[in-house]
């Protein structure tokens, strides 16, 4: 048993929509260990996005306990949560969310800009290292508009990696990409996972979930099922099975 990165106990989340109370999460218990690659699945409205927001310290639960890396974050205020996000978490979004008209390097530097303890030289060094890790060392000065979707998402992954987080949270990170590029991105995630990164990956595509080591399925605010993947599919192997249409984005 590795170290527990995430420990969620009886987490509930209620939303008030006018007079009606919506129970988005109705008592979730969840543990994720260091080095795991977990897929969170479920239909829309199942509570998986709410879970991700809470895991990502963007939101706090109505009740219950959440320990991230041994620290209780359930009752932190906005500023404390921002600090946790800055130092311990990395986000990858479906729509990449890169700053327009800003170079890949500056985009990757962004999280470090909010870390006052870093020198600008270190910041640049770390950003370059992160871009190298995602295979974009030669695209550092490119604007997002000059990059393909897959490349943009890799810049976003570099941005998530740059602060050396204990946990990477991906929200439908392959949702805007074609199958081939999705597989390439998943191969990148698998590489990162092999290097020891803990990844939580929200998706609704079972194909994508096959690349992870464990899948947790949400339904109506509860965990419906939880299972380890019997045989994890290697994304790089899977890539070979789909015909090459254009080669511009190959690893």
């Amino acid at each position: 048993m590795g170290k527990k990165i995430i420990e969620v106990k009886q987490v509930r989340k209620d939303y008030h929509v006018g007079e009606v109370v919506v129970h988005a999460l109705r008592g979730i218990n969840l543990e994720i260990e260091e080095g795991e690659f977990v897929a969170i699945m479920g239909a829309s409205g199942s509570g998986k996005s709410t879970m991700l927001n809470i895991l990502g310290c963007l939101d706090t639960p109505t009740s219950g306990e959440y320990y991230l890396d041994g620290t209780s974050v359930a009752s932190m205020n906005r500023n404390q949560l921002a600090g946790i996000r800055n130092r311990k978490l990395g986000f990858v979004f479906q729509a990449y969310n890169l700053l327009p008209r800003t170079t890949a390097l500056e985009n990757v530097e962004l999280p470090l800009m909010y870390n006052a303890s870093l020198h600008s030289k270190d910041r640049k060094k770390m950003a370059i290292a992160a871009l190298e890790a995602v295979g974009l060392a030669d695209r550092m000065d490119h604007m997002p508009s000059q990059l393909s979707g897959g490349q943009q998402q890799r810049v976003a992954i570099a941005r998530a990696l740059v602060n050396n987080p204990i946990l990477i949270l991906a929200d439908e990170a392959t949702g805007n990409l074609d199958t081939r590029t999705s597989f390439e991105i998943m191969a990148l995630f698998q590489d990162l996972n092999r290097q020891g990164k803990t990844i939580v990956f929200v998706t609704h595509e079972p194909d994508i979930a096959n690349f992870t080591s464990r899948r947790i399925v949400f339904r109506d605010g509860l965990i419906r099922s939880e299972e380890r993947t019997a045989s994890v599919v290697d994304a790089r192997e899977a890539l070979k099975t789909i015909p090459v249409l254009n080669n511009h984005d190959a690893l």
Binding site: L58, G83, N86, A95, N97, L99, Y114, A116
Partner: protein, 406 residues
């Protein structure tokens, strides 16, 4: 989060939208430029009026006969015969802060020399008059006390009179001109003084002993005015009071009764005109200030648009660890930068515009350092004031909603 990072983030954000940044700046730029130029015009006119007035002698005090009731009839000041030489002598004797005093008797008429003639005014005075009114002699001499006593028919002429009666290269000194058919020997020419602040030609005059004008031209015994000079500018109002006291005693005016004369000092006049041009400056400044205000509202407007447009960016920044305060500061720094940079360019433009106005229109223009400092401070204030609300709106965004904002 340190401030260098904050500046860097804000500058990057402004650079991303150069056109919009520039257009927003333009509002502040024009506002500041017009404030600087308007204040420069106002201050310039004030300064020029002051120099004009002090060229007429800042220590000068003059006494005119006032209007009064006589047998139920209100008399006009020009008909008054209340000022006499005895008053002048009393002032000389009883007013310690008055250094010089001169009577003035004047009348208009035609001056003639050979085949030329010119309508002008003759001023009957004593030699001190020239010192009091800061008139200097170009050539020749002033008349003597003796000539005053004898009602000598001698005179000094102003530049305008000289130009109209004499040929270019002719020296008038020693010639005899006629005024109202009385021959006057020209003993001097007065130095040119130019137009007064009110557009009056100060060189269109003949100066002669007051006795001559009183007896030989007008056949009167009273004076049109008394001119005096205070020991210093600071003693002006004290000297003025002394003259008022003396004249009240002389004219046997009882306490509570109105004066039958008016005493005015040049300092008073300077103050009056200063306050007039202050009002003018304030008015111009206010109009320009309104354009600055509009520029500020422009900043607020653009910052609101910017916040809405960059909702996703704000969400992203929050998700990677920006605190509300960081977001707020970023937008505040952006708006302050816009207004300060716009302000600096505006100051330069305003100074340029002032110089242009003064060279094209020939207006006196004076850029004051205070107005530069003031507009800089106002710019910063505008940046913070009008950036505050949009920045707060940005800082209060919910990161979850912001990041998925379409």
């Amino acid at each position: 989060m340190n401030y260098i990072n904050l500046m860097r983030i804000a500058i990057r954000a402004l650079k991303r939208n150069k056109t919009r940044t520039f257009l927003t700046m333009l509002g502040i730029l024009i506002g500041v430029a017009s404030v600087i130029a308007m204040l420069a015009i106002g201050q310039g006119s004030k300064a020029s009026i002051q120099t004009q007035l002090s060229s007429m002698g800042t220590n000068m005090i003059f006494v005119m006969p006032g209007s009064m009731f006589r047998g139920g009839v209100q008399m006009g000041p020009s008909n008054m015969q209340s000022l006499k030489m005895t008053d002048l002598e009393a002032i000389e004797k009883n007013c310690p802060d008055v250094t010089m005093v001169s009577p003035e008797v004047r009348t208009s008429g035609q001056s003639i020399y050979s085949n030329k003639n010119w309508p002008t005014t003759i001023y009957g005075v004593t030699p001190q008059y020239l010192d009091i009114r800061k008139i200097t002699i170009e050539t020749g001499r002033i008349f003597t006390e003796r000539e005053v006593k004898n009602s000598a028919k001698v005179c000094l002429i102003g530049k305008t009179v000289k130009d109209n009666l004499f040929a270019n290269n002719q020296d008038p000194v020693g010639t005899v001109i006629r005024f109202k058919n009385i021959p006057f020997k020209v003993i001097g020419v007065l130095a040119e003084k130019g137009q007064s602040g009110f557009g009056q030609d100060q060189d269109d005059l003949i100066v002669a002993p007051y006795t001559t004008v009183q007896k030989r031209i007008l056949a009167i015994t009273w004076l049109n005015a008394i001119y005096a000079s205070a020991a210093s500018e600071e003693l002006g109002s004290k000297a003025q009071t002394e003259i008022e006291q003396t004249l009240r005693e002389q004219h046997k005016i009882k306490a509570g009764e109105e004066d039958d004369f008016t005493v005015r000092s040049q300092t008073e006049l300077v103050n009056t005109f200063s306050s007039v041009s202050n009002v003018l400056t304030a008015l111009l400044g206010a109009i320009a200030g309104i354009s600055l205000l509009v520029g500020g509202i422009g900043i607020m407007n653009i910052m609101f648009v910017s916040v809405t447009e960059r909702t996703r960016e704000i969400g992203l920044r929050m998700s990677v660890g920006a605190r509300s305060r960081d977001i707020m500061m970023q937008f505040l720094v952006e708006s302050v930068l816009i207004s300060i940079i716009g302000g600096i360019i505006g100051i330069i433009f305003g100074m340029g515009a002032s110089a242009l106005i003064s060279s094209i229109m020939g207006w006196p223009v004076m850029v004051m350092p205070q107005s530069v400092v003031l507009s800089f401070v106002v710019c910063t204030f505008i940046g913070v004031f009008f950036g505050w609300y949009p920045a707060r709106k940005a800082a209060e965004l919910d990161p979850i909603e912001a990041i998925r904002y379409e």
